[in-house]
């Protein structure tokens, strides 16, 4: 095996492991903002735009991100392919640089996979032999531009460094900008449609990577052993420091929380939250949902940072990302119209106007539960043309107009029995009241009651807690009352001047003893470690008296 192949193999394995085991959430994030359709119309609408073929190809590949391992293989394949296509037999590390730069640049979650795919296609185009008919490049260059967009410059600078050919390209780009594609910003026409999720801005990384592709083909470094190791170290440094810098930020923590919520990886989410002190509405929503789904709410609710009602069900904040865990929480709570609303809004917030398979699936399901089968069919028709949502769509389609089948569907049966159907007013500020109303109408919906009671505790509204708590004992008895509820009830009694012996019997002796101990410790030293890291650090009493964040 020659040196280039060995480097390629090592690089591919590294890339695969990175995306498969370290950053699977990156794959999910990209996949959820598109929906590749196997249809001629879908291809046609892409081919009508400059660079549309690269977008279409990228979307085709990104659909495989739905599955972590196939997604990681695709990313590793594309990056390795770029390396292999860069023709530089004299210096392998220079040829590796563009792939490394794309790897680093990918840490910017707004970088679309279109860009590396366009680089790959551009380099592939350089392999077309046009030597026999030199003038054909005057046709090929506009064609490549139309197919892949901005990255045509890599082709031109590698294969057609000629003033007239460059002028041909520039002329054609202006023609496209002012004749065929007038409602797109100029920056999109010249720097690539869907190369970057945010319009009107193209990061310098894109240009840097493109330039590196061109330079890599010409760099000649003498073959000396020390130079080999130096280059090896340089490339590794760029990769490691670049990836740490680009990937290691709070945003990726949230992307990870969203990823775990999306795929129902509740235990993983809680483990991640235990290791990382996540403090935000977004993270709290995901963590509380994971606690509820693993029957650990309310026992562990004060182990984690809380954010008021927005940490249970967030208010919408105008982006396609902001409410993923909230939408999932609504789904499991049986707040069907809220599922629709949050998913509609996230769908409408996708800045490059793509449809999302993830959101379409939830919307279709919500319409089915609302018995709007005709509208659900419209969404299912799209999902049926995808690879990874097709089987779900076919199963869902089979349930249309058949309430018995819907009731038997394992995914929907629980939600149907939990949902409220007639006129419940959604209110984030009065979340507890809304959820109590839901529970009173659907006493099977224990999750709603736990959310309501936790909402009162998180908001330190003991009056409301005491008012609602009898619902818990009425429906679930007094035998196994979560300790957090006992703590809260005891504290309310204590504030009301009740003696311990007069408190309800469902408050265990252990909880009473704990409170006495807590009270003593608090009087002696409110700054004692027992409140921050010790026995009481996760208690309601500590949250109530110490935690200021909400």
């Amino acid at each position: 095996m020659d040196k280039k192949r060995i480097i390629a193999a090592v690089f591919a394995v590294l890339a695969f492991c990175f995306w498969a085991f370290m950053r699977p959430e990156w794959l999910s994030y990209h996949e959820q903002y598109q929906m590749f359709l196997f249809s001629f119309d879908y291809l046609k609408e892409h081919l009508l735009l400059p660079g549309g073929f690269a977008v279409w190809t990228a979307e085709f590949l990104v659909q495989f991100f739905y599955n972590t391992f196939s997604g990681a293989a695709v990313v590793a394949g594309v990056l390795t392919g770029i390396f292999l296509l860069l023709k530089n037999n004299e210096n392998q590390f220079a040829a590796l640089l563009p792939s490394v730069l794309i790897w680093v640049y990918s840490g910017d979650e707004s970088m679309m996979f279109t860009f590396p795919v366009a680089v790959l296609l551009s380099l592939a185009a350089t392999k077309i032999n046009t030597d026999k008919i030199p003038w054909i490049q005057f046709l090929i260059i506009p064609l490549i531009y139309w197919l892949i967009g901005y990255c045509v410059w890599i082709y031109v600078l590698l294969r057609a460094r000629n003033v007239f050919k460059i002028l041909t390209l520039v002329f054609f780009q202006f023609f496209v900008a002012y004749v065929t594609t007038r409602n797109y910003p100029l920056i999109d026409i010249f720097c690539g449609i869907d190369y970057y999720r945010l319009r009107m801005e193209i990061p310098v990384w894109q240009h840097l990577t493109a330039v590196s592709c061109v330079l890599a083909a010409f760099v000649k470094i003498p073959e000396k052993k020390w130079l080999f190791y130096t280059q090896c170290a340089a490339i590794l440094s760029v990769l490691v420091f670049g990836v740490i810098k680009k990937y290691d930020n709070l945003r990726y923590d949230y992307i990870k929380v969203d990823y775990f919520s999306r795929f129902g990886k509740w235990e993983s989410l809680l483990k991640f939250a235990e290791k990382n002190n996540l403090k935000s509405d977004f993270a709290s929503t995901g963590i509380n949902l994971a606690l509820a789904m693993t029957n650990q709410m309310p026992d562990r609710v004060f182990e984690f940072s809380q954010s008021g009602n927005n940490g249970l069900i967030s208010q919408f904040d105008y982006t396609c990302f902001s409410c993923g865990p909230t939408a999932e929480a609504c789904y499991y709570l049986g707040l069907n119209n809220s599922v629709l609303r949050y998913n509609f809004d996230m769908q409408s917030g996708i800045l490059n106007c793509k449809n999302s398979g993830r959101f379409f699936k939830r919307i279709a399901g919500a319409y089915i539960l609302n018995r709007r089968y005709d509208v659900a069919q419209r969404y299912l028709n799209k999902l049926k043309k995808t690879l990874f949502y097709r089987s779900w769509a076919l199963q869902a389609e089979d349930c249309l107009y058949d309430e018995e089948k819907i009731r038997q569907n394992p995914e929907w049966a629980g939600i149907l029995s939990q949902r409220f159907e007639n006129g419940l007013n959604f209110s984030n500020s009065d979340l507890d009241k809304m959820l109590i109303c839901l529970f009173e109408n659907r006493p099977i919906n224990r999750m709603a009651l736990n959310y309501a009671l936790c909402s009162t505790l998180i908001n330190r509204n003991l009056g409301a807690f005491v008012k609602y708590f009898p619902l818990y004992t009425k429906h679930f008895g007094t035998a196994e009352i979560p300790e957090i509820y006992q703590q809260a009830f005891l504290y309310a009694c204590f504030q009301g001047g009740y003696a311990f012996e007069n408190m309800p019997k469902f408050i265990s002796e252990k909880v009473k003893d704990d409170f006495r101990e807590f009270d003593r410790a608090y009087l002696i030293n409110p700054k004692s470690k027992v409140f921050t890291t010790g026995k009481f650090s996760k208690s309601f009493w500590k949250y109530c008296l110490f935690d200021t964040r909400q």
């Binding site: 100029l186 319009r199 509609f344 917030g349 106007c353 709007r372 007639n422 006129g423 959604f426």
Partner: protein, 486 residues
């Protein structure tokens, strides 16, 4: 050999493309077609009324004008050539077209009862429609766009869309009496601005002031183009967990005023800025009257029926830019226990059309919302029975000659608002409306994930330099409007 080849090709093209019905069974029923074009009245020159037939493998449609001219269509749906259709409709202006539908299903051809499409004597010479296409979101609108559609063909293009100005919500395009050279659009959000374009000149205004409660919102032009009537609304929305009703949109407060477009000044009139809620002001056809809707203040947690708007008018002196002083209630909401919104005067001065719902300031989410028309000559009011359905009818606007109007209706799927056009004669009588024609209606509407919103006619194509507009939006440069007292 060549001749043989040509003959073969001729035969192939002729016999393979058009399968004529054989052994036809006669069915004494109307065909189930989508859209329902049976008995509709259309203007000559409208885009072909292509339609699909439910449960059909193949359709064979023959249409015959009163003058004897014929058109044939055969295939998976009934589709007609644009020029031939136009020719047929012009030749039968004031008459009718007979539609004869034969359907093949399970290998059997069935011929249904013929139906008629009436061609009005009144023309519809406007270029087309403008409207907002809006996805079913509530807070984010990255995919929103204002589009224009040639109603004589199937061509649609963007006036402004999310591709040009990313992630910005835009309110509706409001022209002055269908004039494409005089319109306003409001952009909401962090780059908010009110765009006013007159005769190719464009200006972006900041309409929020210390003296007013919000940006200018619902707009209506004075016929001279010198003024725009606006309402300023603090809009709020609340959501329901309900299988039928999802949302209620209401105002926390609202006022009405008039903007002097030449001086960039808001004319504040105390009577239009009371503690009551004033909304949807519009100028009469002669520009001497302002009609608007007003309600006592309400809170959503209280009695929803309090959200009822009366129809009121006041005078306007365009010379002096003066509102009032006389105010007259035309329809008292408390008396009829209904809410009046979206008044729209016809440009010939004959009618005032408006929405009537049980309660609401935003009737698009009220299935009981219907269109009514007031004859301004004698102030009589009647519902448009031919037009209304058991779903919401809202956001109507007249054509330049006031003989046609377009409106939103949810009657097709109860979720998305689609556009219907109807004819109204000089006595206020309407005809059965027709759904905006599409090349393959079932396919088009079956794959539509957007609602049509606030449609209006445009006499010519709207010409807006989208890129220049986008640059101006993002530049942040705005003309701050001033205020003056009435």
């Amino acid at each position: 050999m060549k001749k043989f080849l040509y003959l073969f090709l001729f035969c192939f093209l002729t016999f393979s493309c058009t399968e004529s019905p054989e052994n036809v069974q006669i069915v004494d029923a109307l065909p189930e077609i989508f859209p329902d074009y049976e008995g509709v009245t259309v203007p000559a020159g409208i885009a072909p009324l292509n339609f699909n037939v439910k449960n059909s493998e193949k359709v064979y449609v023959e249409i015959t004008g009163d003058d004897g001219s014929k058109l044939l269509s055969s295939g998976s749906y009934a589709g007609f050539d644009i020029e031939e259709w136009h020719d047929l409709t012009f030749k039968n202006t004031g008459g009718k077209i007979t539609v004869s539908v034969t359907v093949k299903n399970n290998g059997v051809w069935k011929k249904y009862r013929d139906f008629f499409i009436y061609v009005s004597k009144d023309s519809l010479n406007d270029y087309g429609l403008t409207y907002r296409l809006i996805p079913p979101g509530y807070e984010t609108f990255a995919h929103i766009g204002i589009f224009q559609r040639d109603i004589h063909t199937f061509d649609e293009e963007a006036v402004i869309d999310g591709m040009a100005i990313q992630g910005e919500c835009m309110n509706c395009h409001v022209p002055n009496r269908c004039n494409p050279n005089q319109f306003q659009v409001h952009i909401r959000g962090k780059n908010s601005a009110t765009l006013i374009q007159q005769g190719g000149k464009r200006k972006l205004l900041q309409t929020a002031t210390d003296s007013t409660i919000a940006n200018c919102m619902y707009a209506y032009w004075h016929p001279t183009g010198k003024y725009i009537a606006y309402s300023l609304n603090l809009i709020h929305q609340t959501f329901f967990e309900d299988t039928v009703k999802y949302i209620e949109v209401f105002d926390m407060a609202s006022d009405a005023l008039v903007m002097d477009v030449e001086k960039n000044e808001l004319i504040l009139c105390e009577s239009l800025m009371t503690k009551d809620f004033e909304s949807y002001p519009v100028f009469s056809a002669d520009g001497k009257t302002i009609y608007y809707c007003t309600s006592k203040p309400y809170v959503l947690d209280g009695d929803l029926n309090a959200m009822r708007y009366s129809l009121v008018k006041t005078s306007f002196d365009a010379e002096k830019g003066k509102i009032g002083p006389d105010f007259d209630t035309l329809v008292n909401a408390e008396e009829i226990k209904k809410s009046i919104t979206h008044p729209r005067p016809s440009y010939d001065g004959r009618f005032l059309m408006f929405c009537v719902a049980d309660y609401s300031v935003f009737p698009i989410h009220h299935k009981e919302s219907d269109l009514y028309v007031m004859n301004l000559a004698d102030s009589t009011i009647h519902p448009l029975k031919e037009v209304n359905s058991d779903c919401a009818e809202t956001f109507h606007n007249f054509s330049t000659n006031s003989r046609w109007f377009v409106f939103n209706s949810r009657r097709i799927d109860k979720i998305n608002n689609l556009l219907f056009i109807s004819h109204i004669d000089e006595n206020g009588n309407c005809t059965k409306p027709f759904l905006l024609p599409q090349k393959n209606p079932a396919e088009f509407y079956g794959n539509l994930f957007f609602s049509y919103n606030v449609p209006d006619f445009t006499s010519e194509k709207v010409d807006l330099d989208i890129r220049a507009f986008a640059r101006e939006i993002y530049s942040g440069e705005r003309i701050q409007v001033g205020v003056r007292r009435n």
